[in-house]
Each structure stands twice: as C-alpha cells, then as structure tokens.
C-alpha cells in the first residue's frame, strides 16, 4: 500500500505532521503505522490544540486523589471512601445515529469509571439540541433520550441528573455529553500505568469488529472490490455485555492480579496499549492474530483502529492468567493474552510472527504535535441595551411564555425514561438543583450536577467560563453539599479558527479563576472540537460536572416549598441585569449584550452562608437563581410543591421587570419558618451577607403584589405541557 499524499490527507494528517512522522521514525511509515499515527495524533487523543491551555487549570486540592491524566478523576470523601468521576462527549456519532451514539457515549464513560476499580453509582448527561422547529430535532431528541436510557437502565445504574437545552446553534451539531460517577475504596483504586517487563497483556470483553474504523481509511486500497460491505460503521452499543464486563472486572479487582487496566475507548487497541506503555515508560508487543475478531479476515490495520465497544486491556501479575480467565469465562467473555510488556519502549505489532509495525512509544505520545494556536480576545460588548418597551410587558405573560418554553419546561418527559431509583441510594432525583446519592450502607452522601451556559459563553467567554463553575457550585450548595471538585467537557467549534480558539482560551481562563477562588479543582475532563458545519461553529459550550459531599444525610434539601406561611429570603444583590437573559431572548429576541457580572467574593460568601444555614437545620427549602431570574426560580419552588407564594413589590428598583427577570449571579432563595428567622438573619448579618425578605408562602396562588396572581395548578400545567405537545 503506497502512502500517497491523498492517503495522508485522508488520515487527517497535515503535511508537516507527516514530515514529523518521517523524522521520528527515520523512515516512511507503512499503512498500518500511518493509521496508528493518525489515530494517536488526532485532536481527540492528543489534545494537541488544547493541552497548553488545559495545563493552567487548578487540579490539586486537599481532597484530590487523582487529577487529570487517568481514565477519570478521584476525590477523597472521608473514611476509606473515594469517588471517581468524569464527563465525555459523544456529539458526532449521536448526530448520525442518535440512539446508538448516545448509548455508546454512556457505555464509554462508564468504562472510564469502572476501569479505575469503582462501581458506578450515578449517571448524568448534558444534551443540547437545535431549535425545536428544526425538522431534525424531534427525532434526535427521541433517539438520544432513549439511547441514554437504553444503556443506563439496562446496566442498572441510575441516571440521576442532567440538562437539556435547545438552541439553533446546535441545528447541525447536537451535543451529547455523558458523565459517570463511581464509588471505590481508597486502597483499591486501579491505574493505567504499566509496570514491569514481560507481563501478560490481556484482551477482555467483546470481540473486535469493523466498527467505527477511522473514516479516512474508507477509500484506501485495503477496502477492495467488496468495499461496500466493509464500510466502517457507527458503533452499536451492547449494554448487556458491558454489564458482564463491569461485573467481571470488579470481581477480578477484588484479587491482587492487576498491574494496570485501561478501557479501549477512542482509537481502541491503539490508544489503550500506547497509553499504558507510555505511562509506564515501557514497550509493548502485540500478537494481532490472537485478537478475538467478530468478522472474518480482519487486517492488523482494522484491528488496531477498530472502536468496537465493551473491551478492556489488562496487564496481569505473573501467574494470574488462569484464575483471571476463570472469572471472565464465568461471565461468558473473551479473555486472551495478546501480548507482553517489553523494555524496548516501542509498540511492536506482529501478525503470525511477522512484524507489521514498529513505532517508538514516545513518537505517539510525548512527541506528538502540540499547537499554540492563534486566538483572538473577545471584548466585552460595551453598550448597554436600552429597552423602552420594557414597561409595556405584562409580567404574567412573560412568565408564562418562559415557563412553557422548550428550555424551561419541566423535563419529566425525559427523566421518566431513565431509571433513577435502581441501586436504592438515590435520595434526590432529577428535577432538583442537584441529585443526591447516598454512599451504599453509609450515612454520607454525594451531590452531583452538570451545567452549561452557552449564551453567556458566547457573549463573553471569560465571564461565561467563570459563571458556569459558579452556577454548578451553587447547585451543589443548594442541596446542602460542600462542593469538592469538577470534571469538564469542553464543546467548541473548529480550533483552527482563531475566534473559536479565543473562545476556548478565554472560557478556560474563566473556569480557572472560579475554580481557584472557590477551591474547586478540576480532576478530569474531555475536549470536543470541530463542532459545527460549513464554517458555522457552535456557540462555545463548556459543560461543568460537579461533585459535593454531604457528610451526614439527615434531611433532603430540595427547592419545593414545604409549609404554609413561612418566609422567603432572597440572598445576594439584585441589580436587574437583563442582557443575555432568557427574558430578552424569549420576549424581545435580543441576543446582544453582555452576560451578568460574576463576583467571586460574593459568590463564595453567599454560598458558604447558605451552607451554614442548611447545616444548622434552619431552612425548609433552598433554590439557586439562574436562567430566567428571580421570578422563574420562585415559580419553580412553587410548581413542585403544594404551596404558592405571595411576593412583595420590590422596594428599590423601580422597574419590576428588571428586578424579577434579571439574571444577576450569586443569589439564592430560602424558605424559612417564622420562628427561625432571627437565627437566620443573625447568621447573614454576622457574615455580612446582603439579603431581602421578599415574601411568604401561601396556599393555592402564586402571586406578586400588584403584578400577577396565578393558580398554582395552572402554573404546574403551563410548565408541564411543552414536551407532551411536541
């Protein structure tokens, strides 16, 4: 097979990248080697455009056991318990085949977590679709939701939280990000770093097929006359096999047999073997004729590049092959020793004893290209938009419009398709600020949430980056959890475009600032570039997944109003910032302007005070204020409960639209019993927190003095109809 310019191009390699390959190998690569380089050097595996920015993120902390660089991050949650978590994107496959794309996305992230020895205990997802009016959207929504459920439900891990958004920026490129969270004993964490020479390299799991082989190879000569039949395809998920693989791996992990273990994700056998060898500064030799194959006549090229799902690579301690094999046989899975570790620091691929490829590991890993791409800084849009028409808007109409819109409707239609209760430790399900999962058999719990704000990030990436971390932090605080660490999935457009690269760089600066200030380190993550089509990039959409600790779960903190005639306290200052708000978007179709300012000091102080109030058991319910502003947050508190609200006229601001729909940051709503008010006020005053008592709960009506009065049942109906009518 001749390596022509066209073949190189089809492998997504640039001319100078090919020159670098020649230099590193001191010769031309053969076709197999070229395929391996292309797999390892692509953006997805090499992080060549993002690495220099990612390295600025804070990744250390008192509670961090493992930061970025492993299959998933690990944090300490006290005693001998640790939590393993990570988020990953599956955007492109989900657009082509929504069910399978989303399903295999869930499967992939689960493997990242149980590879580390953790039993997965929760799944989350962040899904973004195009405009509901786009004719593709409905089908994509249906497919993605049933794919996520189809995999998660079947494997028996509760899907407990997530976010679903619609925005025309995703019309031709939806986002499907899946996050998995697992629990492990601190002394039983497994890593991917290989150790020792001449150790068995074992392949376990499903057989290898021609799934998802690098699209580039399609036109190559290896696909001959019957190429139609050999065409690479989207991967199909097999949750049943994944369940078996998970149980088998966890069973094997109870013994002392594993030196290192790595799932086969993107670039399958190639990236898993290279990663293990690279981390261990070793070589690895594979005998490809031993690879269990699903199809006949698979070539080394196909085996190395296949992205078949539900497979793992394990390096075993000497003499453990037999006992390990027995476990995998019990679970009806393949278990084959396909190679060994070596001291050559090379990847050597043999097929029936003939060497088919030989590449120094460093050439694939540490010496892979690294780019400092050009990026443009975004200026904060200066002019404040003046809206004279504001006075003409009836608050009730605006509220109803927002509550019945696709983005603000109740997501029950989606979450009821997910098993949220399996494993019997889900103390708080979807629909709340954050889900709460009890650690099995213990009193402690974790809280989890995923968040994004593409509109803010687009308007001003730096502020947007800051804001999502804060919003995520706030969500955990609202359920009484102390936020510990985050994972992030950075969904952006084409990094070769300096505008996109600027969005990326600045979002990361924002994320970094918030994480540092809040002591909220990044322990894992994933970058997805090239989201978009025909030079139209998606709005920058970093997604933050956060985990917090509740040391003793005594009472579930939720945002549903609990009692009649209790007081409502608004914590944090309200300025009435309407630009980039849902109100402007929905009512005036205004998309310009700057996002609300993020004040990290207030954010931290407000949040910590809320936690203090929750911990002292002084509050009935808590809700953070986010998109839609105060009024939407108040409505949400009422909708999920048996009570309404009576809210006073705002005292300071003259314009009530600004007051109620503004999206100023760092704010919370608390429902407090009358007799506990003085204690709460004391805490807030001691901590120097700005707050207002804005009203109280009542029966049957959601009411804002002089503005609106709506039956709570009607409010519920308004909020619950969109999906059923779609």
């Amino acid at each position: 097979m001749k390596i022509t310019k066209q073949v190189i191009e089809e492998h997504g390699l640039k001319t100078d990248e090919f020159l670098l390959i020649q230099k590193l190998l001191k010769r031309d690569p053969n076709f197999l080697e070229l395929g391996i380089f292309s797999a390892m050097w692509n953006e997805h595996c090499s992080y060549k455009s993002s690495r220099i920015h990612l390295k600025n993120l804070p990744t250390k902390g008192e509670k961090v056991i493992q930061g970025p660089g492993e299959n998933a991050g690990v944090i300490d949650i006290g005693d001998d318990d640790a939590i393993v978590f990570k988020i990953e994107s599956h955007n492109h496959p989900s657009f082509i085949e929504p069910y399978q794309g989303a399903a295999t996305g869930v499967g992939g992230i689960l493997r990242d977590v149980f590879t580390m020895g953790a039993r997965p205990i929760a799944l989350l997802n962040s899904i973004h679709f195009g405009s509901p009016n786009n004719f593709k959207t409905k089908n994509l929504l249906n497919g993605v939701v049933s794919g996520i459920g189809g995999y998660g439900n079947s494997i028996g891990i509760p899907t407990v939280a997530g976010e679903t958004k619609f925005n025309k920026t995703y019309d031709e490129n939806i986002l499907v990000n899946a996050m998995a969270v697992g629990h492990v004993k601190k002394n039983k964490i497994f890593y991917s770093k290989a150790k020792g020479v001449n150790k068995s390299v074992v392949y376990v799991g499903s057989k290898t097929g021609r799934d998802g082989i690098h699209g580039a190879s399609m036109a190559s000569a290896e696909f001959d006359e019957n190429s139609e039949e050999k065409k690479p395809t989207v991967q199909v998920g097999d949750p049943f096999t994944e369940k078996l693989l998970m149980e088998a791996c966890l069973e094997l992990m109870r013994e002392d047999s594993i030196i290192s273990i790595q799932d086969m994700g993107a670039a399958g056998l190639t990236s898993s073997s290279v990663e293990m060898a690279s981390k261990g500064e070793l070589g690895i030799e594979l005998n490809l004729e031993k690879v269990p194959c699903r199809e006949e006549k698979m070539t080394p090229y196909e085996m190395m590049l296949s992205e078949s799902q539900e497979r793992m690579l394990i390096i075993l301690e000497d003499g453990k092959e037999k006992s390990a094999k027995k476990i995998f046989e019990k679970w009806d899975l393949d278990f084959v020793v396909i190679g060994k570790t070596t001291d050559t620091k090379k990847l050597i691929l043999k097929y029936n004893n003939k060497i088919e490829g030989e590449i120094p590991i460093s050439a694939l890993a540490s010496e892979a290209p690294l780019y400092n791409r050009k990026w443009d800084k975004k200026k904060l849009p200066k002019n404040k938009i003046e809206i004279k028409k504001l006075k003409k808007i009836k608050m009730e109409d605006a509220l109803i419009k927002i509550l019945s819109s696709s983005n603000h409707s109740n997501k029950r239609w989606i979450t009821e398709q997910f098993d949220q209760g399996v494993m019997c430790d889900t103390a708080q399900k979807s629909g709340s600020d954050a889900a709460i999962i009890r650690i099995h058999g213990k009193e402690k719990a974790i809280a989890v949430s995923v968040d994004s704000s593409a509109n803010y990030c687009k308007a001003h990436p730096l502020t947007g980056g800051k804001q999502i971390v804060c919003e995520n932090w706030r969500n955990l605080v609202s359920v009484g959890a102390k936020p510990v660490a985050i994972t992030n999935c950075l969904n952006f457009g084409n990094p070769e475009d300096s505008k996109v690269m600027g969005e990326f760089a600045e979002c990361l600066i924002g994320i970094k600032e918030s994480c540092e200030f809040l002591n909220y380190p990044v322990v894992s993550g994933n970058v997805s570039f090239y989201n978009g089509t025909n030079k139209k990039n998606i709005s920058p959409t970093p997604v933050i997944g956060g985990v917090g600790i509740i040391p003793k779960l005594k009472k579930i903190m939720s945002h549903n109003l609990k009692k009649n005639n209790s007081k409502i306290i608004l914590i944090g200052k309200t300025f009435g910032h309407l630009e980039q708000s849902v109100f402007f978007e929905q009512i005036f179709s205004i998309y310009e302007g700057q996002p609300p300012e993020v004040n990290l000091t207030n954010e931290k102080n407000n949040g910590e005070s809320v936690l203090e109030i929750i911990n002292k058991d002084l509050v009935n319910s808590v809700h953070d204020i986010s998109s839609g502003g105060l009024i939407v947050a108040l409505a949400e508190m009422s909708i999920g409960s048996d009570y309404g609200l009576k809210i006073n006229k705002p005292k300071k601001l003259t314009n009530s639209i600004e007051y109620f729909f503004g999206e100023d940051q760092g704010r919370y709503l608390l429902e407090i019993d009358n007799e506990k008010m003085s204690k709460v006020e004391n805490i807030l005053e001691n901590n120097n927190i700005y707050y207002e008592i804005i009203g109280s709960t009542q029966k049957d009506f959601f009411e804002v003095e002089g503005e609106l009065k709506i039956d709570t049942k009607k409010l519920y109906k308004i909020n619950n109809q969109w999906y059923n009518n779609y």
Partner: protein
C-alpha cells in the same frame, strides 16, 4: 426464613432485593443461574433488571436457564416465589404465571412512583396490608403491559388472583392511572395456588424513608412469618 435470589447475567436489582431481604431478617443466598440445585429456601425471588439485556423478549432467555427448572419444581411443590419486574416477565415466560408482558403502550421506558391498590390481602405475600390499601411504589420498566386471554382474565377476577392494580391516590382504577396499558390496570398477579406472585412495581425500593417511603415493607414482613 431462608430466601434465595436468582441471579442472571444482566440482573440488576439483585443487590437491592438482597439488601431488603436481609434488612427484614431473611437468611438470604444469591444463586447463580448456572447452578443446578437450589439451596434450602422458603422463598425464591427472581429480581428485576435486564436479564440477558432483555434481548429477544424480556425474560425469554432467562426462562431457558438451568436454574429455572429447579425453580419450577420448587414452585410446583408450593415454595413461595416472588418475581419483581423482570422477574415477573420471566415467570410468565416459564409459564409459572399465565399471560405476557407487552411493551408499555407509550413505547417508552417508564420510571416513576405510582399508586397501587392491594386487591387481595389474604395471601402469604400481602396479609400485613389492609384490603384496598393504597401504596406508592416505584415502577421502572419497558414491558409492563400485562396481557392475557379473556378466559384467564375471568379466572383472575373470579378467584381473586389479582394482587395489585394501578390506581389514583384515592384508589380509583381509572385509565389515566394506568401507566403502561395493562389489562384492567393489573400491576401484579398470583397463580391459582397463590404461592407465586409476579409484580411490576419494585417493593424493594420502598423500604427506607430517607430514600423513598416504607410502603414495600409489609410485603416482606408478611413473608417473613
């Protein structure tokens, strides 16, 4: 009381039910599907989940497993058998319970807390409940739409073999409270001997107030005595 929980590849509520049984003081054992003998058991539970991924038809493949023959033998001798969710589906596939569980009428997986009514409280599974007591129990299934022929349906009614029905919070068994299209809102049934119960709702998820409620407890406390 000795209980056995049968574990198939793909079962995923096996731990949940084991936790519930142990909490209620059963001496429980997990039994792998490849076993050919059952430990001494007063109660056999076939747990929920996705045995064999629910491939082909939910419960169909588990219905052909080795251990199932032993379950059938034990059941025919009068051993108590409880099938929850996928367990109910497996029991119908083996013929221990009649009828079949079709796909939910909305063709979607449904997970939510629903109200069910105790139709018969005079069995070993249910006597700690009151007749017509309304329970709030979680359902989580794709195929819970109970179907049977009209003769058998008559028999279910005449012989008081309907265990639970989906209802509203006052106990009315209206169509709008039927989550999955099940005939006559049926959520669970007994065999003629009333030693076998199959039900779609998950009582094992309702034994802990911190997580949900306690409405499932009386099923287990009925059984333990």
């Amino acid at each position: 009381m000795n209980s056995s929980v049968i574990v198939f590849p793909g079962s995923n509520c096996d731990r949940d039910i084991a936790v519930a049984l142990e909490k209620m003081q059963f001496k429980n054992q997990m039994v792998w599907h490849k076993e050919t003998t059952l430990p001494k058991s007063d109660l056999i539970v076939i747990p929920g989940g996705f045995s064999y991924g629910d491939y082909l038809r939910s419960g169909a493949i588990a219905g052909k497993s080795l251990i199932i023959n032993e379950v059938i033998k034990a059941a025919n001798k009068g051993c108590l058998v409880l099938g929850i969710c996928n367990g109910f589906q497996i029991l119908t596939e083996t013929g221990l319970l009649k009828g079949a569980l079709l796909r939910n009428k909305n063709l979607k997986f449904i997970n939510k807390d629903v109200n069910i009514k105790v139709e018969n409280n005079e069995t070993k599974f249910s006597y700690k409940y009151k007749k017509n007591q309304i329970l709030k129990i979680n359902i989580a299934h794709n195929e819970g739409n109970y179907f049977t022929n009209s003769d058998h349906l008559k028999k279910l009614n005449n012989e008081n073999l309907i265990a639970f029905k989906y209802c509203d919070k006052h106990g009315a068994t209206k169509e709008e409270n039927n989550p999955n299209g099940s005939l006559e809102n049926i959520a669970g049934i007994y065999n003629s001997n009333k030693n076998i119960l199959g039900m779609m709702p998950h009582p094992e998820r309702m034994i802990d107030k911190m997580i949900s409620n306690n409405d499932g407890i009386n099923l287990f406390s009925s059984l333990i005595n």
